[in-house]
Amino acid sequence: MNPFNIEPLTFENARASLEKDIDGLCLVLSGDIDMRDTSLGFLPYLLKIHDVLIQNNIKELKVNLSDLTFMNSNGIKSLINWIMKLTEIPEAARYKVHIAANTGIAWQESTIPVLQKLFPEFIIID
C-alpha cells in the first residue's frame, strides 16, 4: 500500500499498484498490458500517480517491470504520454523515473533503452 491511498488497478490481463518500500515509492506493473485502448484505464492511473508526485514534491519514482511480461504499442504510447507531462511542468517540480527492467524479457531489453534515449532527463534504468 502507499500513503496516498491510491488503490491497485487491475485491467484485463495486467495489474498496476503504487507501493511504499524502504527506498521510496514504487509503481509495480505486472502481467500483459495489451488493451486496445490504454487511455481508458492505464494512462489515467499513471497520470493520477503523476499528480500525487507533483503535489507532494516527490523527486523519485521507481517503476518495477520485473513481472510485466508484455506491453503492446498502445501501452508504450501511454508511457510516453505520461513522461511527456514532465516536460510541461517547471523544472523544480519534476521527478525522475527509475525503471527496474527485466532483461530476461525480450521487449523490455529492447524498448526500455529506447524510451530512456527519448527522455534522458527523466528516465534512469537501474
Partner: protein
Amino acid sequence: MIPLEAENRIFVDLKFGPKWTYISTVRTFVENFMAISLANKKKAGIIAMSVNELIENAIKYSDKEGIQIKFQIMSNEKKIYVNVSNHATVEEENNLKKILAEINSLPPLEAYMNRMKSSLDSMNNKSAIGLARVRYESNAEINHTFNDEGFVNVHAAIPIDNEEVSHESI
C-alpha cells in the same frame, strides 16, 4: 510473400475473426510454438511481439471479418517470414503505404523514436508505433501488397541465426 517450397516444414497458417480479445491467445500460441522451434527463447518472445503488433494493426485497419496469419521458419534462408492479411479500404491502404515508406526510409532506431514522438499527435489508437517497433526490435524487413480483392498483406522477414533453430523441431 512467403515462399512455399516443399521442404519448408515449420509453418503455421491461422485465420480468425477480427476480435481484439483473441490477440493475446494468438500471441501466446505463437510464443509457445516458437519456443519449441527456436533454441533462442528471447527470439520467440520477439516473434510473438511482432505477430501481436501486426495483428493489432490488421484489426485496427480492417473493414471486414477475417484476419489471416501465416508464418514460416526458413532455416536455409536464415529468416522467419510473417504474413498478416486483412481486408481494407483504399484509403487505409494509402495510409499504410505512407507510414511504411516513412519507417523504411530511416534507420530502425530513428524510425521507432520518430513514431514514438509523433504518436502524441495521434488522437486515436492509430499511432503506428507498432510497425516501427517490429522493425527495430526484430530487425525485420517490412513491406506490403494490396490486391484487387481489397486485401492488404503485410510481410515481415525477420532474420535468425542458424543456431537459433532448435533441432528438436525439425
